[in-house]
Amino acid sequence: MSAGSRNSALVVEDLKVHFGGGSSLFGPKPTVHAVDGVSFSVPAGKTFGIVGESGSGKTTTALAIMRLVHITAGRVALGDTPIGELEGEDLRAARRQFQIVFQDPYSSLDPRKRAGEIVREPLDLMQIGTRAEREAKVAELFEQVGLRPEQRVLFPHQFSGGQRQRLGLARALSTEPDLIVCDEPVSALDVAIQAQILNLMARLQRELGLTYLFISHDLGVVQHICDEIAVMYLGQIVEQADRVTLFNNPQHPYTKALLAAVPTVHGNKRDRRNRTRLKGDPPSPVNLPTGCRFASRCPIAEVRCSKVAPPLEDRGDGHKVSCLLV
């Protein structure tokens, strides 16, 4: 499928999400720079992955695109819809086009509602179709995600983790969205169930032409499902490339360290000895370092790295790297 067959591509430009700030009685409150200038675009029908460690801002990016946290600055657009700027009723109406699958299949389903009701909820709230049509749509969705329609009457606690994530997918699909944001959709599941859910997601993408924004910390999962991948560190993208390039020819030292940390069953001893090991924790997102944010943990950092912030530059074929030294 060609990239332009549907024109609802996701465009994110210089997205910033800062928490806190302002001033209180006791002086200025600290500002947490959770997402600090992130730009990328996802062609329709493709899967864009964001990887990074805890606190890198990947989930906040997802929530900002879903308009579930306040956007401090920047532009988010889905096709012709400027979803970053909509408010009130306009935003509620536009939500039909973008839906989310959450990480935790246990806390993302309302324990007091029946499965059918949970999947139908967005349709009810947006008043899409008649009651009978909605009910039929829910039955169809259950089949589509591999559940039996008669399971609609069950409550969430009667489903297994994998089945619950299928329910989450069915709910996200109910409004027939263009974009589905997947916030670590399989990281709470067993490995065998992960494969089931990933295959289901891939099949749904083929059948429905969905665009995925896939957030994960699991490089294996990202390699399996994503077309293009961005690596985030402390609120910024440090490297971005298509799947093959990123895994075969990583440039940024942080990406190299991440890839080296993936456990393997057939690595030899030499590889293990040469692997880049990172020490310490990322700096605080409150007091950001000047210069490169990775400099404090970088194995190849020079003096100038902590003075000059490296731009995210295109090194050819859309392979973008933010590093002064490579």
Partner: protein, 294 residues
Amino acid sequence: MAELNSPDDLPAVKATHPAREMAVMFFRNYNAVFGLILLIAILLFTFVGPYIHTVDPFEMVWAPFARPGEEGFLFGTDYLGRDILSAMMAGGRVSMAIGLAAALISLIIGVTVGAFAGYYGGWIEELLMRFTEFFQVLPTLLFSMVIVALFGASLLTVTLAIGVVSWTAVARVTRSEFLRIREMEYVAAARSGSAKDGYLIFRVILPNALPPIIVQANLMVGSAILFEAALSFLGLSDPNVMSWGQVIGSNREYILDAGYAVAIPGFAIFLTVLAISLIGDGLNDALNPKLRQR
């Protein structure tokens, strides 16, 4: 590779409502069941009893201070020669009605204040919680006495006075539950399904916040009955309406001559509050999934 997407085969699709499981838990708790049986017995006594024992509680039927069992008066007669058994039946109805109504009033005020404070946060929360604290620091008995003294002692003012001084606990419980639940992913999911604030508050968060609120409300019925008794004992209740507290209050001067006239309604209040507390504990255990695993 074949796609593994067949659902695990369940033997039968049978929906078990969470409330049903809680009911099962409740009835396994012997203390709670004892409390429930006790409460049903008290309700039967006060609501069905008057149809069997048809003596007007205000009518002087015998000489004052007949001992319990004397002359066919099961609980004896009071200082005006009125039948205490009838007074117990009539008074129980009023006591329980006041308890229930006062708990309902404090539930409505408390849930509203707590829900809005917990959901919106920010200055709305600040304002509402400072308002709540204002009511919390007032001495409750004194404050309700002032209300009754100002507006006159009637069933309505007594009920309102009890409700108005006891809603703060509900507000705090509701707020804390809202603070916890509003961060849940299913709330974010409903929001991304374009839910409005009203839907999120009343259809998503409140149903999930109910268990501790139910427990609190239940215990409040008990404390409202005690409160009413305290007000009646101090003479701040409608003299034309019989209640357990009223029976104690009117006989208190004769406590040395006719202790039973004070002890019997006192014991009835004790039993009722005990039954309600046992039910409350049972509800708490049944509704709290963390305790349920024990």
